[in-house]
Amino acid sequence: MNFSEVFKQSNQLCKVSPDGKYLATCVQYRLVVRDMSTLQILQLYTCLDQISHMEWSSDSLYILCAMYKRGLIQVWSLEQPDWHCKIDEGSIGLVSSRWSPDGRHILNTTEFHLRITVWSLCTKAVSYIKYPKACQKGLDFSRDGCYMALAERRDCKDYISVFVCDDWHLLRHFETETQDLAGLEWSPNGCVLAVWDSCLEYKVLLYSLDGRLLSTFSAYEWSLGVKSVTWSPSSQFLAIGSYDEKVRILNHITWKKIAQFEHLGTINNTKAVVYKEVERKTAVCSDDLSLHNITIGSTLFNTQSKYEICPLPVQIPVVKPDPDRANPKIGVSFMAFSSDSHYLATRNDNMASVVWVWDMQKMSLEAVLEQTSTVRCVQWDPRRPRLALCTANSKLYLWSPAGCVSVQVPSEGGFQVLSLNWHCSGDSLILLGKEQLCLCYMDTDQEDK
């Protein structure tokens, strides 16, 4: 495993182009585009204000830089560095901005979610979409980029509008049976839309592409409900994570629950492997305690850590959430399927330092990774069943069915890994710290324990 040198970035804005050739990072108000293989700076663009959001277009030719405070968007072209485009939302403000799947339209959500403005870069035309809903996930594009589903709220009722992304023609507009729609997501095959209600009511509705209600799923009443929903890449399973610390899996044929995964505080009686991160402070002899070493700091305070396999039964550290606060830190908020739909990684918020990996073929627990501190980011390798996670220390953790490994990120100033992204080829990882970023190149061999 090789690590590149450390580069500057701000705002955790660092994205790889969809074709995997370029790496774009934001440093304050500058946009830096590097070549992925050599990390040489290819282009440097300067924006008018600090960049809040940055996004590649789907054909990797254009980059969108949004400055929410100023209400400005600037689009840069990779092929023609002289080309410029500036969209000013004026006094109406800007809350979020994104590309359309064809890479030629920009959708801006104004302040207070008053409307969504669709700017066309081909014709400079503008269109408006009224009454978008401000919720957890109110807008979703289907994976093939043909359709867009938007949640709307009019007269205290929830609606969904399905648009054709070609010409923004409104295909379907129907009311949903939710109290307060919290989010929607297309299935990867683009034929089913999963819609879920807010946490006050457990309700997941499944609509087909043409607006027919296929099925409703509700596991229980009254207690806090759905926290997160995710599709498996094969569209076979829909995983629903809820506040009762359970994940329920629905199948795509009958839309009924086929499995339920519980996150218990004590693990026993499973065939799962429990990995526990164990830290070992490196022994420092008095000779090393020179001023030089202390100022460098990293080697002195770096702790070695490795994984140990714990024998069952295992107690998981549980943090009870404050009962009086809203949106309590309990329940399954993060779920992700591996690219072959073989594994599901979950995280229960009151066991925040533990990542659970479930085997979808056996419908049972495969592995449990217990870290020393809260897990910040978990990502699957886009090509193979390999999981990378970080816990805001200077280490990178990798899990694969063969085993688990913890790697120290080499850097002088102490690099805290706050989030990570895989490259689309699965050969390298981009590690983001507070103000820095670092690339990690994987070996082609397997890791061992």
């Binding site: 000013d88 592409l209 009254w222 806090l224 809203a326």
Partner: protein
């Protein structure tokens, strides 16, 4: 005389034990009502007297009379007193008897009464015991009820608590949402105020250097009904294709599962079919045989009509038949199990006979096999032992070397051939060296002859004969030394040593050339020539001798032709 005998009896009775006296007395008293006056007769007065006095004294009364000798005069007073005492005694006795009878009556009535009360009390006790157990039972039941009610209460409390928690969380969630909405509302109000105050409104604007083309390169179309219809069509197409793929997958899965079921059915049928021959006379089997034949037909039929298997009816039939067969198989296996357990216990039933026989046959066969294997193993062991046991040295050495003998022979032969070859090579080399030596000698002689000849020739023309001769010999000797040095090896060395001597193919004739060199150049400076000559000699040894004289031995001859010449010259 019966009376006397009676008297004797009385006597004998009276002479008996004292305690029985009363009874015995009462008897005779009773009888004595008939026998009054018969006790004493005139004959036995004295005896009677003495007897009576004894009796009286034994009763404790004063003696009635003194025994005066032979006087039959009775003391009437004494006798009357005695009689009176006796009557008193009698009366007392009667009185006590009466009292005692009364007492006895009383006691018996007491006893009756007590018995009666005791039975009554026992009954009461029984009743109260039963009541007690009943009450205990009731108490226990009530306690159980109390416990269950307490549990219910606990559960209800827990549920209430949970619901309260739920309500609390929902309330906090609602409050949170409310506050969020209020905050947003306030922001909106502020913004509205700001907009109302702000006169100059910043409008939305887009500023692009130049429009860029569409991603797919096509021109955008106007929104018309046709495009709308096209979009609808495409949407339905995607939905339909998705359903198609799903249906295909499900069909494949179904077909596979159906195949598996059919295989299972065939297997079960075959298993049951083979077993049917062994088991006899069971009622369900008979009924099943017919059904089985039906089933078999069905199996073959359904394999033919695989297309129609999607029909619900056929599917149900298949699953039902599989279930039936499976049940039969299960019952059969259970039966076999029970039979096996029974057979172990050693009972002899008809239905067991066949299975036992087959078991026996199997056992015998297996035993035979085991025996054979054992024999085989034994023979192998013996052979191994023979092999491993220490035999006499000859055979041992033979055995140890037997594999090597052939190799050794081969190697020996090869060695022999190699030795022969080596000898041959040695011989040849010796020959070559001898030849080389001879050759050098011959050459030497040849050179000498030639030199002589040339000298003669030269001396014909030049005056410096003597000195020339001397130098010639010197040079020659130098050359000879060098040549001997060179020629000790094979002749090919010389060939190799002159790589740069390209122009002169004459390799082994440096002597000749230099000799030739020196002869024409003597016309010029003489003393210099000597050094030159020597230099030339040196040079010719090492490098090319091209630089010296144009006179070269231009004949492109090889060694053999040169020797030929020499030979011819000699």
């Amino acid at each position: 005389m019966p009376e006397s005998s009676l008297v004797k009896d009385i006597h004998s009775n009276e002479c008996g034990a004292a305690p029985s006296r009363q009874y015995s007395q009462s008897l005779p008293l009773h009888r004595s009502s008939y026998l009054l006056g018969t006790f004493c007769t005139e004959q036995n007065v004295q005896e009677c007297l003495s007897h009576i006095s004894q009796e009286v004294s034994s009763l404790g009364l004063p003696p009635a009379w003194k025994d005066s000798a032979g006087s039959s005069q009775l003391n009437v007073v004494a006798v009357l007193n005695c009689m009176y005492d006796l009557i008193q005694l009698h009366r007392k006795g009667l009185r006590t008897l009466e009292n005692m009878e009364v007492e006895q009556l009383k006691l018996s009535s007491n006893v009756d009464y007590l018995q009666f009360t005791s039975t009554r009390l026992k009954e009461q006790l029984e009743i109260s015991k039963r009541e007690n157990t009943g009450l205990l039972e009731r108490e226990r039941q009530l306690q159980m009820k109390v416990k269950s009610l307490q549990n219910c209460l606990k559960n209800e409390k827990e549920e209430v608590q949970k619901l309260q928690n739920v309500i609390a969380s929902r309330a906090s969630q609602y409050n949170h949402e409310m506050k969020r909405k209020e905050r947003e509302f306030n922001k909106l109000k502020e913004r509205l105020n700001q907009l109302l105050i702000d006169k100059k409104e910043k409008k939305q604007a887009i500023d692009v250097l130049n429009s860029i083309g569409r991603a797919d390169g096509k021109r955008s179309l106007w929104k018309t009904e046709k495009t709308e219809a096209k979009h609808e069509g495409e949407m339905y197409k995607t939905i339909l294709s998705d359903y198609d793929t799903r249906q295909r997958e499900l069909m494949l899965e179904n077909a596979e599962l159906r195949k598996v079921l059919q295989h299972m059915k065939k297997d079960i049928v075959s298993i049951l079919g083979s077993k049917k021959l062994t088991t006899k006379g069971e009622k369900p089997d008979d009924g099943c045989l017919q059904a089985d034949s039906e089933e078999e037909d069905e199996v073959f039929n359904s394999s033919m009509e695989s297309v129609e298997l999607s029909c619900v009816h056929v599917r149900e039939k298949l699953t039902n038949s599989i279930r039936l067969q499976w049940r039969r198989l299960k019952s059969h296996v259970e039966r076999l199990d029970s039979q096996a357990s029974v057979a172990q216990m050693g009972e002899n039933e008809n239905s067991d006979a066949v299975t036992r026989e087959t078991d026996k046959e199997e056992m015998d066969r297996l035993k035979l096999e085991i025996q054979q294997c054992k024999n085989f193993i034994q023979t192998q062991q013996q052979l191994l032992q023979q092999l491993s046991s220490p035999c006499d040295e000859e055979t041992a050495s033979l055995l140890s070397n037997c594999y090597m003998l052939q190799e050794k022979d081969r190697l020996r032969d090869e060695w022999k051939t190699l030795e022969e070859q080596r000898k041959i090579f040695e011989r040849e080399r010796r020959n070559f060296t001898e030849a080389a030596i001879r050759l050098s000698c011959e050459r030497k002689t040849f050179e000498e002859d030639r030199a002589m000849w040339l000298k003669h020739q030269f001396l014909k023309f030049s005056p410096f004969e003597e000195s020339k001769k001397f130098q010639m010999s010197k040079s020659k000797s130098a050359f000879l030394i060098s040549e001997s040095q060179v020629g000790s090896g094979s002749t090919t060395d010389m060939l190799i040593r002159r790589p740069s001597d390209t122009t002169s193919p004459t390799h082994c004739v440096p002597l000749a050339t230099t000799d030739l060199h020196c002869t024409p150049s003597t016309s010029s400076t003489k003393p210099k020539r000597n050094t030159e000559h020597e230099e030339g000699l040196m040079l010719c040894n090492g490098n090319s001798c091209n630089g010296h004289a144009p006179l070269q031995w231009n004949k492109s001859e090889d060694h053999s032709s040169h020797t030929q010449e020499i030979n011819s010259s000699l």
